[in-house]
Symmetry: C2
């Protein structure tokens, strides 16, 4: 049982974490801080938090779990403040979409509190962000990645695992680097491609006429291009090395496919399409990853 949970960032991710744990009866009291007074008040009204705090410091005092659910670019500064005020038996967990950079931040600023930090990434979200969309079921049937440090004690991993399983997630452990490489491949590069594809259309004359003719296939293909600029600026900056590696592999593949078209070799094209088409048809989103999300 968590006596007091502190949300640093009362948005969709933090709010859903709080609502889920409250519903499960695993948390007694929730305090929260967001830079915006309006957000803190909405969080209060929605029951996401019971007490609104005016600063990160105030939220961390007397909290035994601090959930850091801010944009990635705000995490290092927050970890620094948290480390100065957190209790000896408290722990802090983030929910950022990249992990190596956050672990590096933690190593820079947490000092002796490093062993009280659990880096986590829930593969969940909604098209609409913000605390008004917070949902106790957001983490149901989703994947949750923990990327513990060598300094992370196993009982902390155990506590984090229990909480996320209670919220309905399937919990996996990866190194921060393996995490960032995998998500560069299956999430960050697809976003980059969708942004670049929309950019290439936008730059053409008659872009509006082109888009007017686009159908349902284009709709799905381009959905990721509607993603949030704050979130994706931070991810692209934080994980650029892995993303660039994956982009290179993708661009090589594009060249291979364009060559096949150039050569006009129908048999070769057929075989290549059949192979990827089978992979994609047989692929099923993990039981852990259903519905809408990023």
């Amino acid at each position: 049982m968590i006596q007091q949970l502190a949300l640093i960032g009362c948005g969709l991710m933090g709010g859903s974490f709080s609502l889920g744990l409250q519903r499960a009866g695993l948390v007694k009291h929730v305090v929260g801080y967001s830079p915006s007074l309006a957000t803190r008040q909405k969080a209060l009204v929605l029951g996401v938090i019971h007490t609104a705090c005016a600063s990160v410091e105030e939220a961390c005092l007397q909290s035994d779990l601090i959930l850091l659910a801010t944009p990635v670019s705000a995490i290092e500064n927050a970890l620094k403040i948290i480390s100065n005020v957190m209790a000896d038996d408290a722990w802090v967990m983030d929910v950022g979409s990249t992990k190596s950079d956050i672990v590096a931040s933690a190593r820079r600023v947490m000092g002796k509190r490093l062993s009280q930090f659990m880096p986590a990434h829930p593969i969940a979200g909604k098209e609409k962000a913000g605390v008004t969309h917070a949902d106790a079921d957001l983490y149901q049937n989703r994947t949750l990645i923990l990327t513990p440090l060598t300094e992370t004690p196993s009982d902390l991993i155990g506590q984090a695992t229990v909480l996320w399983k209670t919220l309905g997630s399937s919990v996996h452990q990866l190194t921060p680097d393996a995490h960032d490489q995998i998500f560069a491949t299956v999430s960050h590069l697809p976003h980059l491609i969708a942004f670049a594809a929309m950019h290439a259309i936008n730059q053409q004359d008659h872009a509006q006429q082109l888009l007017q003719m686009a159908g349902p296939g284009f709709k799905d293909f381009s959905r990721l291009a509607a993603s949030d600029p704050h979130v994706w600026r931070d991810i692209f900056l934080a994980n650029s090395t892995h993303i660039k590696q994956q982009a290179q592999l993708f661009q090589n593949a594009m060249q291979t496919w364009i060559q096949m078209m150039d050569q006009g070799d129908g048999a070769q094209l057929f075989e290549a399409i059949q192979k990827v088409s089978q992979t994609r048809s047989q692929w099923q989103i993990g039981a852990a990853n259903q519905d809408d999300s990023n």
Copy 2:
């Protein structure tokens, strides 16, 4: 009223055309040919056709409208046969996904019958092909493109327009080249990208582990990669010039985005993402293009 409709190719597209026109009471009798006996028999059982024919020739005799709904690569040969047997007051319409190559085929083989040909492309489909999925509503609320030739008489354009409007489609006219350029941009390139992205993952060690972590965003992004190899081999071969041009614009855009990541300029990245994100958020699939399709 069409006295006799001939389907050359009794699959999803042709079958849905027949069922829709029958329901609207616009056709009296439907005959059909498919190379596969089993398909012809299924089409009979489903009421898609009333008489199964053993050859293209047989189907065309006494038919006043011949709908050519075969894979693109079979169209030229079929047009040749049809031209030899069709009546003076009959007309033929295709439903192929590319138009310049089909018009060129028609010019090569149709001779004096060229003015009896109406090239058409319904922006419709289903994930599952085949006559068993034929559906009188397939063309409801979809876009239909006609690409008439200079030789096409206006009353033929009028007749085709009436039929497709009856089936629920919104009818647009384009030149064959404009059609192929537009669909290279909003359909063919997105398919190529999805195939190449899946190919790039397939080539990596631990591809299965990567795919296991992929979530709902990847699901939408990669859906087009599950498309049919026959259909897409033909499209890539038929429209390679426009697709390669669009691929080049896309690859240039990828380079621009990778450079932005390299330079680590958050403000520039934010602005670029915001711009495409707004375009995509404001875009709505045409009233003409809803639901599942390619």
